[in-house]
Symmetry: C2
Subunit: 212 residues, 2 copies
DNA sequence: CCAGAATCTTGACACTTGTCAAGAACGAAT
DNA sequence: ATTCGTTCTTGACAAGTGTCAAGATTCTGG
């Protein structure tokens, strides 16, 4: 009987702890999201904890309650970013019923991303470069890169499938190609080049049938 | 006569000024080169003027004599970097007499670069990302990107020429492809992945005949 | 309602940052 | 050798950094 009580008490205590953990983690994500705003605006090099706090509903001390240090915070940001972006094109892949539909859906999403989420994407390229210097970022960054490669591969496979073919290149090469094009277009777009987006779309439209 | 004298004096003065300018510029380049060492080691975000000075034969004050501010210094670094790297493969292109020779020369150079100049290249990717945030970098970075694209195009054109063909893609797409592959391999290499370089070489070897 | 835990704020700390100015060291022309 | 302009060093400044600890506040279980 005593054992049952302590067993029940343990379960209650465990449940409470899980709840607390979830709350704790929810706040961490909330703070990471706030941090992403400022990081996307200023970039890694120019972003301080105080700046992040000022652009959020919190004070700078909170960040040290939820994160062991600045790197920990930014790692959390990177991981959170990942969740938001590696499924970006999956709906298009799922709903398209023909090559044309897939192409147009992909291009539309590409253009919208470049137009509306430029800040988040320049941050991604920034952090990926940081990973070349800061070992603490590497694991997460490499993982995201893998996920993005898989995302591109899903598009290419589906596209090829509609033509009864298989993609003509490796997942790595396909990802390198599209990522390189996107990165270049992003820089030009941010530099005020109005032709960056349409030129990217043209290029991709031309490329898709030749690589898949 | 008076005019001739003043004319001669002017010429002498001009020559002196040119000489001084050259000396001034030589020192600027020397300082930029020293800065590149530290930048390649630490990355843009973690590099301070004092750190640069400490890893060089100069004191931190000199940098403000030769550069108006930190951005000016780093812009100079970027420009100087460009001159050193946009002709990296030109010798291979010039001396190769067959597809195989060109391929092997290109691959060898690629591997050597990845192995020996990883720090300089991660800095390039870092600064290119910085350009997405800092407008002052954009002009130089875009120019270097164009030069690199042209460099890749020279290789591809020569390669195609040996086969009596023309490259199958645009210069932009080819550059995006190779740059993306290189960037990814660099990150993996820096993360300690021993397979990064051989895998890049395999990929490029496989790709060359299909794109050119 | 109240005690104790969880959460958050505030203010301080030691340190680093870019910038600059005063002057020392140097070089070249007179 | 002296003078003057160039080049470099030194030390200071104000502002900003990450970190932390003490305490205020809020939440929660009893």
């Amino acid at each position: 009987m005593a054992r049952q009580v302590t067993g029940a008490a343990r379960r209650v205590a465990d449940a409470a702890e899980v709840l607390r953990d979830e709350k704790f983690n929810a706040r961490r994500v909330e703070l990471a999201e706030a941090a992403l705003e400022t990081l996307g605006e200023l970039g890694f090099a120019r972003t301080s904890l105080r700046e992040i706090a000022q652009n959020s509903a919190f004070t700078h001390g909170v960040f040290h309650y939820y994160f062991s240090d600045k790197l920990d915070l930014i790692c959390c940001c990177v991981r959170h970013y990942k969740a938001k972006c590696v499924t970006r094109y999956d709906e298009v892949v799922a709903t398209a019923t023909s090559r044309d539909e897939l192409t147009e859906g992909f291009l539309a999403k590409l253009a919208a991303t470049l137009q509306n989420e430029a800040r988040m994407h320049r941050l991604w390229y920034d952090l990926r470069s940081q990973a070349m210097f800061e070992a603490a970022f590497r694991k997460d960054v490499l993982e995201i890169d893998k996920s993005l490669e898989a995302m591109i591969w899903r598009i290419a496979s589906r596209y090829a499938e509609f033509g009864g073919k298989r993609p003509a290149s490796s997942p790595a090469a396909l990802y390198a190609l599209f990522d390189g094009l996107f990165q270049s277009a992003l820089l030009k777009h941010l530099a005020g080049d109005k032709t960056a987006i349409p030129e990217l779309l043209d290029e991709v439209r031309r490329l898709l049938p030749t690589v898949c």
